[in-house]
């Protein structure tokens, strides 16, 4: 990559203070034309604030400046119209595309529908323009197709094409994407980033905000890390490694993030025995988990990882095979049956499947134990409050008031509360589906510390995670699912993310 003298976009001494909190402190960042520049950091580190300041939707503290091409503006005077006229284009996390209408219409919505006689929509011109825009992002598809027929990464590309719609090639400019890959599975994220790489190589400056570190390694030209509102470092080339980035983001080395898990005792009996289980895309799956063991499940999206957990939890009826808990056959037809057999389940989509947003933190903590607080005279709210307080302390949940609604907690604290909900039942088997999704890296460390404690107390864990690094570090053993089969099983010392990635994609 060649660094031209002139930045496409630079910030100089930009700060942002909210009442009671410094979101950004004296940040000076340079992004060059032709560069794919990633911006990483934990939740609340200030990376999204930076996007808002650049977009002009929030105003910086007086003092800093933005330089876009050859124009320098005071950072606190930036407006959306200004950002636009200077050639900045934004794609937000929720890309604002419409799944049920055609690609051409999605593109037209960004500007206007081309109209012909009497205000009638000129569909032909619409399609023609759409095709040209799609070429820019190297997306080869029929503009009349319904957007939802595209893969998730291609839908994001449509949003990018729309953002670039009135972008003149000669205007030096930057494309800023706020967590475009947050909702994408790993291989889709990879496709999207490859396309962004191509866009950048044509001379565009691309600034990518993300919290998924693996995806940018090997693709981003440079990576800047934010921590608590400070730019803590910019690394490039071979220095962009997972460990280095985590260290920048967290401020401590990676070994402190994932605690060492205890070795399972050798002669402990099997807690879970799965025998020739066929469910969802899986066929004839057999494996077992011993007491105190953490078994990871690696596989790409759609390989049936979640279906496997849901089958064990009684939510999906298997097509064949048996599941046994501590040697006794499990016939779970509902979550209630599975819970009675000592199983707990932390689902992948916390907001949809685990939390009760408008109920209190207390009710959320005790949601799986409601009948235990019932006496003939009614629910014992006193005992409930005591128990919820005990769980808050034991699991380090930051909740100032247990009667506040669950929605007032941060994602990481919500997830700790969900774990506490299950662990207070002392389950013999804990099913974890992406337990650290959407939580920042500090809370991730807390969550795995909680899991370790549970394992030390005798629980076994079946863990699904898309982050193979995480899977490799936390699990004692990882089973790899591919094409409906259990294709391999990896144990330490062979267990590392590269082995898992290789096995998950191709044997």
């Amino acid at each position: 990559m060649t660094m031209t003298a002139e930045c496409a976009l630079s910030t100089d001494g930009v700060s942002k203070t909210y009442p009671g909190m410094r979101a950004l402190d004296d940040v000076s960042l340079q992004i060059y034309p032709g560069e794919l520049h990633a911006l990483v950091g934990g939740n609340g580190s200030g990376k999204s604030t930076m996007v808002k300041l650049l977009a002009g939707v929030e105003h910086a503290d007086p003092g800093g400046t933005f330089t876009i091409g050859s124009h320098t503006v005071d950072a606190h005077r930036m407006t959306p119209a200004h950002a636009r006229s200077l050639g900045l284009r934004f794609v937000h996390q929720d890309a604002g595309v419409f799944a049920d209408i055609s690609i051409a219409e999605n593109l037209a919505l960004g500007r206007r529908y081309e109209t012909g006689l009497a205000g009638r929509v000129d569909w032909k011109k619409l399609r023609h323009d759409a095709t040209k825009l799609l070429e820019r992002v190297d997306l080869d598809c029929d503009p009349t197709a319904i957007l939802s027929s595209l893969s998730a990464s291609s839908q994001t590309l449509v949003a990018i094409a729309r953002a670039l719609a009135d972008f003149e090639e000669e205007t030096l400019s930057a494309l800023i994407l706020d967590e475009p890959t947050a909702a994408l599975p790993a291989h889709e994220a990879h496709n999207l980033l490859a396309k962004l790489r191509v866009l950048a190589s044509r001379g565009l400056a691309v600034l990518l905000i993300t919290h998924r570190l693996d995806e940018i390694i090997g693709i981003a030209d440079r990576v800047s890390a934010f921590r608590s509102g400070h730019l803590v470092g910019t690394v490039e080339g071979a220095d962009i490694t997972h460990d280095k980035l985590v260290e920048l983001i967290v401020g401590r080395p990676l070994s402190a993030v994932f605690p060492e898990m205890p070795e399972p005792t050798e002669d402990a009996g099997d807690v879970l025995t799965v025998d020739r289980l066929s469910t969802g895309p899986l066929e004839n799956l057999s494996f077992s988990i011993r007491r105190g063991e953490i078994v990871g499940v690696a596989g790409l999206l759609g390989t049936g990882r979640t279906t496997l957990l849901r089958t064990i939890f009684g939510e999906v009826a298997p097509r064949g095979g048996t599941i046994a808990i501590a040697g006794r056959p499990l016939h779970a037809h509902s979550a209630g049956d599975a819970i009675a057999s000592g199983i707990g389940y932390v689902p992948e989509d916390r907001g949809r499947d685990a939390v009760f947003n408008d109920l209190s933190v207390r009710d959320n903590l005790l949601a799986a134990s409601i009948p235990k607080f019932w006496r003939w005279s009614g629910m014992s709210t006193k005992r409930e409050t005591l128990e919820a307080g005990r769980l808050r302390t034991a699991f380090g949940i930051k909740a100032p008031d247990l009667s506040n609604p669950m929605s007032s907690l941060s994602g990481g604290n919500q997830q700790k509360a969900i774990l506490a909900r299950w662990l207070r039942l002392e389950p013999s088997l804990l099913l974890l589906d992406e337990p650290t999704q959407g939580v920042d890296i500090g809370a991730r460390a807390d969550i795995y510390a909680i899991v370790r404690k549970a394992v030390e107390a005798g629980a076994s864990v079946l863990l699904v995670a898309s982050d193979f690094e995480e899977l490799a570090r936390v699990s004692d053993r990882v089973i790899i699912l591919r094409d409906g089969q259990l294709v391999a099983e990896v144990k330490a010392p062979d267990l590392d993310q590269h082995v898992l990635t290789e096995l998950a994609y191709k044997g």
Partner: protein, 345 residues
């Protein structure tokens, strides 16, 4: 997610930074007990205002208010039971009507013993509730559409059976007495209403079942995954609601001394207004038993005062309509403050 938490973070720091001051506590008191205060002000106004003061708080007026609203109150509780689980039941008025028509038809026209007719009417109410619950829980139909259809169909059945007129010419005196006379100066129907209020309060707010319903209203997917039998809970809630509507129907016939196709369904609106008003007080943002009782009697006391003032016949409808919209808006605002979003309708 990052965007959201970063945007909210400063506000939260701000909120936690200041200890809950007097104004904050007053605000809390206001949202919890505002309706009660308003109730007291309204009563005080009509009790002191010249044109209404002589009659408003007289024993006769209070007894009439209590007796007339016992049935509405039970219908409102029937709405409350399913609404606690997040399902609105628009058929409770019609089910009340059917139960009322069954009693009047069986006892008054066909001379069947009350000991049989009354339980049958209540069981009919439960079966209709069960049918609603079955359609909604098993087939995942919208509760608004299902119960609106049910309500309309039942109204048709009642019109067919009653031929559009009032039925139940020769009801036994004991039933009529129960509807119109007092025990110890309090209407006899109130002696049915009060235990039912306590039962609803106990079941909905002090039993695991009530907690299940609250959880289902909040998030039915999460509820299933913590082991709650969602389908069965919804089915039981609708059946319980049908039971309450059935009881209300029996009392309605006793109170009015007859039955027709329109009185029962006409109670739906008042019941909804009471439930939504109730959701603005005691537990703001959540439909609740005591709030519902307060809501029903608030509306009754205001309408009584207005009619004593000589308000025209259109005034109560205008007031009821406005109060429903205002109550639903306030309840939704409170619910949203708790992070629940507009879950009431």
């Amino acid at each position: 997610m990052t965007t959201d938490s970063e945007k909210r973070a400063p506000e939260r720091v701000h909120e936690q930074g200041a200890p809950p001051g007097l104004s904050h506590q007053l605000f809390n008191l206001g949202t919890h007990y505002g309706l009660l205060v308003l109730f007291a002000i309204v009563v005080a106004f009509f009790a002191l205002y010249g044109a209404t003061s002589s009659v408003y708080l007289s024993q006769a007026n209070l007894v009439t208010l209590l007796g007339n609203n016992a049935v509405v109150c039970i219908v409102a509780l029937a709405v409350l039971v399913t609404l606690t689980a997040g399902y609105i039941d628009l058929s409770v008025g019609a089910v009340t009507g059917v139960s009322s028509v069954v009693v009047a038809g069986a006892v008054g026209n066909d001379h069947i013993s009350m000991a049989i007719a009354i339980p049958v009417a209540i069981v009919v109410g439960m079966l209709l509730g069960l049918l609603n619950g079955f359609l909604i829980a098993k087939f995942h139909l919208s509760s608004i559409v299902t119960t609106l259809g049910m309500s309309t169909a039942l109204s048709g059945v009642m019109l067919w059976y009653t031929k559009g007129s009032t039925i139940g010419g020769q009801l036994p005196q004991s039933l009529l007495n129960f509807g119109s006379l007092n025990w110890f100066g309090i209407p006899r129907v109130t002696y049915v209403m009060v235990p039912i209020v306590f039962i609803c309060w106990f079941v909905l707010e002090n039993t695991p079942f009530g907690r299940y319903l609250q959880a289902i209203a909040s998030n039915s997917r999460s509820s299933r995954l913590v082991g709650i039998n969602v389908d069965r809970s919804v089915l039981v809630a609708f059946t319980f609601s049908g039971f309450l509507a059935g009881v209300a129907g029996v009392l309605l016939t006793a109170r009015s001394g007859a039955a027709d196709a329109t009185t029962g369904p006409s109670y739906l609106f008042l019941a909804l207004a009471g439930v939504f008003l109730g959701a603005t007080t005691i537990h703001p943002g959540r439909p609740n038993t005591w709030g519902t009782v307060v809501g029903i009697f608030f509306v009754a006391f205001v309408v009584s005062g207005l009619s004593l003032l000589g308000a025209s016949s259109w005034a109560p409808d205008l007031f009821n309509g406005l109060i429903l919209v205002a109550a639903a808006s306030l309840a939704s605002i409170f619910a949203r403050r708790r992070g629940g979003g507009p879950r009431l309708l």
